[in-house]
Amino acid sequence: MSKLPSAFRFLLLAFCLLLSACAPAGPATLTVMTHDSFAISEDVVIAFETANNVDVVFLQSGDTGSMLNKAILSKDAPLADVMFGVDNTFLSRALEADIFDAYQSPALSDVPAEFVLDSSFRALPVDYGDVCINYDKKYFEENNLAVPASFEDLVKPEYNGLLVVQSPATSSPGLAFMLATRAYFGDGFLDYWQSLKDNGVVVVDGWETAYYTNFSASSGQGPQPMVVSYASSPAAEVFFASESLTESPTASIVASGMCFRQIEFVGILKNGQNRAITEKFVDFMLSKQFQEDMPLNMFVYPVNQTAQLPDVFTQHAQVADQPASITYDEIAANRDAWIEAWADVMK
């Protein structure tokens, strides 16, 4: 019985702790909701914090889909003031759910119009990256195999069992790659996936498994020499090599139509606090300082045309010549149906 009062006291203490941890104190707080892949340099954030006398708190909220769902569910009492990371495959859902306030940032003047998908400025572009097939250079050289140059090549018998992709139901690069095939083949993309399946394409749930478990050029040394990843991944392989490399062990297939361009957006959440500072933060995300910091942190490209790319990017990363063209409205209208149909084919 002696345990009981102490348990009560503890619970009380626990709740006090809980409340005190959340009580506002000191300078104003700006809360930024992001997906788990978000990263930034400490000094860049500190620069913003000191310039605006504000504490910036980042809430990592799972993958893009999870983050967006959390934001939609908490629409009336938002968890954060601003949200970064919705991409063009999810944009329509965010706009339909009406979670963003419009803000036409002056910083958009340095951003090419092709990235500004939402003409009413509820979601502003921050970065982009091309989802392409990456391949193991050594494998193709050693086996005297030509690197596939088109989607059609991939279903040839010499590439049987050599490609690993992510399920579009659980992975955003997986979805992006499926969308590229949809853009290329139109309604015939399901037949194409049937042929890919017949040619031994391997489907896994997410990027990590595909890249580190299945891909032969990663440190996981898996069985497949081709993986769906980003055109910037070869640069990351050099940057994060355990010994310095002069050449990346991987490269991307950037042939016309074979890549899908993911654009990530930032939006001011409705019913948030501190509108003035929130707008400043959005401007800041589009500023040269932030945009130049992004590439090495998230391995994405800046949308701000004045931002300089780091050397490792200019030397080892590729940009798709002509990414698949498919509008976000079209994605919005068909996204779920396509994924379901894809899943039926791949069962």
């Binding site: 809360t31 892949s37 440190s219 355990s242 002069t246 779920d336």
Partner: protein, 557 residues
């Protein structure tokens, strides 16, 4: 590690001094339940009802597709859980006999080894498994899932059934034999009926864990292996159909509740068996016994050690020398990955110093221990002498194990809003998972405190405090420690809480592993393996501690 006083036979007849005055009154019993009920109501049932009331409605059935998806995933869930349970028993049962009946060198280490996977986060287990799979042979993802489930859950069978076997009174077998029964009949007519409740309890628990398995299935199999939990994840977060996700969650909860009710019924029978007062384990004598012990030791070592060892080996191996430059891959020893853990190369805000990640993990684990003991102790006291109230409430304590983490995460957001960014919610989520284990560990110890010994002590003039010190404390201390270690390791390896919200200021080891694995590059992979090794070492040490201090009858879960 066998206690001198472990007579379970008359648990029900026993009366506790400290409860005597109040035990009969419902009100006092209710008081014992209040902390844990309050906790579960606020952090489990409230968020759950919030999300379900928003998303669950019967109209979901009108779209004919939905019941079909529900039916298919339910069938597949049962199918894979059934096969996984069978496979787990095929390995776990011989192992349980081995540990209960025989003594051999390295026994406690091997026993600890079998329990380590249960506490490891899925990312690590999947990585370990895939390392090994690649070295040996290609098996289909489905088989790999079954094997991984066995790897995870064999320790449940070893614990529950092994405990029951070691409590078998050898006199029973001896008298059966003296009456002319052969080995087959001894097992069929004497041993099996006694073991049946523990076999059932172990089977139910293993089945329940396989039934709600999520990470293993997604990581090793992919989304085409749609169990209920995987389907909930996809419908809730990827294809927006929260109504279907809610329907599936309700189905999963109902089944979990059924399993929990069955489990709590059977585990109570397990505890009322007669126990011997000494260990029955002995050295193997005959040739067959020696063969059995040796073969099984080799098999178990290979099955558990190979995947686990692959992590530290990978974390210390360099194998990508000039991968891009067509040179031969060089395998060599390196400590680079560990050194690199301490360097924030990019000055990233999200850089996790390994010491800080470990400190955060240990801190959250510490709070989880305190919280789950504070909540678990009163409930375990009440459960030690179950009345109808306890029998009714008992299964609900297990329910959090069957709730979909995804739906809980959404429920938390609806219920607590901005509050969930508080770091305190991480240990709260961990406590939800740890609580059933803690209560299951404390309860048998509390129930076993021998009343006759306490009475003898007070008759001889010992003060109540002295009685508590000499009789209760030694038993409680060990049970508490092993319960605490359970809570501790559950918290260390728990990754599901990140489905809530994470703050970069408080990353844990599993989160930092996840971060390393989210970008390409040999260094990232190596560092992930290094962090996984650190986590594995912490977990193994904790489990060895449990094994050393394990109260004889505790550990039924």
């Amino acid at each position: 590690m066998h206690s001198d006083f472990t007579n379970h036979g008359d648990t029900k007849k026993r009366r506790f001094n400290f409860l005597r005055a109040s035990a009969s009154s419902w009100f006092a019993r209710l008081l014992l339940w209040i902390p844990v009920l309050l906790f579960l109501l606020s952090f489990f049932f409230f968020p759950l009802s919030k999300i379900l009331s928003l998303t669950f409605n019967l109209e979901t059935f009108t779209d004919l597709n939905n019941p079909l998806i529900a039916r298919d995933s339910l069938l597949f869930t049962f199918y894979q859980a059934f096969l996984s349970t069978l496979l787990t028993f095929a390995l776990g049962l011989p192992a349980a006999i081995l540990f209960a009946k025989f003594d051999f060198r390295g026994k406690s280490l091997l026993r600890a080894l079998t329990a380590v996977p249960f506490m490891l986060p899925t990312v690590v287990v999947a990585a370990a498994f895939i390392n090994v799979q690649r070295l040996t042979f290609d098996v289909s993802p489905f088989i790999l899932i079954l094997i991984a489930h066995t790897f995870y859950n064999a320790s449940i069978v070893i614990r529950i059934v092994g405990n029951a076997i070691s409590r078998l009174d050898p006199k029973l077998e001896a008298s059966a034999r003296s009456l002319g029964a052969d080995t087959f009949h001894v097992w069929k007519d004497v041993i099996f009926p006694i073991l049946r409740p523990s076999l059932l309890a172990a089977a139910l628990l293993v089945f329940m864990f396989d039934f709600t398995s999520f990470g293993v299935i997604l990581l090793l199999g992919g989304s085409q292996f749609a169990t209920l939990e995987v389907e909930i994840y996809i419908r809730a977060l990827q294809l927006p159909n929260l109504n279907l996700a809610a329907l599936l969650s309700v189905i999963q909860l109902i089944f979990t509740l059924i399993f929990s009710i069955l489990y709590t019924r059977t585990i109570n029978q397990v505890q009322t068996q007669t126990a011997p007062r000494f260990s029955i384990a002995r050295q193997p004598k005959t040739f067959q016994e020696k063969l059995f012990v040796t073969t099984l030791c080799i098999l178990l070592s290979a099955f558990f050690l190979l995947p686990l060892l692959s992590l530290p080996i990978r974390s210390l191996t360099r194998l990508e020398s000039d991968r891009g430059q067509r040179a031969e891959v060089q395998y060599g020893f390196t400590t680079d990955y560990y050194e690199e853990l301490f360097i924030n190369r990019r000055g990233s805000l999200f850089y996790v110093p390994p010491v800080q990640a470990a400190a955060n993990s240990l801190g959250f684990a510490g709070i989880t221990v305190i919280l789950s003991l504070a909540l678990g102790y009163p409930a375990a006291y009440a459960l030690a002498k179950p009345t109808r109230l306890e029998k009714f409430l008992d299964p609900f304590l297990m329910l959090p194990l069957g709730a979909s983490a995804v739906m809980m995460g959404l429920g938390f957001i609806l219920s607590f809003g901005r509050l969930i960014a508080s770091p305190f919610f991480i240990p709260i989520a961990h406590t939800l998972i740890a609580l059933p284990f803690v209560i299951r560990t404390l309860q048998p110890a509390l129930a076993s405190i021998p009343e006759r010994l306490r009475q003898a002590a007070s008759t001889l003039g010992a003060s109540p405090i002295r009685v508590w010190q000499t009789v209760d404390f030694p038993i409680l201390a060990r049970a508490t420690l092993s319960a605490a270690t359970f809570a501790f390791t559950v918290s260390l390896g728990e990754f599901g809480a990140t489905l809530l919200i994470t703050r970069p200021e408080y990353p844990t080891i599993p989160i930092s592993i996840q971060r390393f694995l989210s970008q390409p590059g040999g260094l990232n992979y190596g560092q992930a393996m290094a962090m996984a090794t650190v986590l594995m070492l912490l977990t193994t040490l904790s489990i060895l501690l449990i094994e050393k201090l394990r109260f004889n009858n505790a550990g039924e879960f």
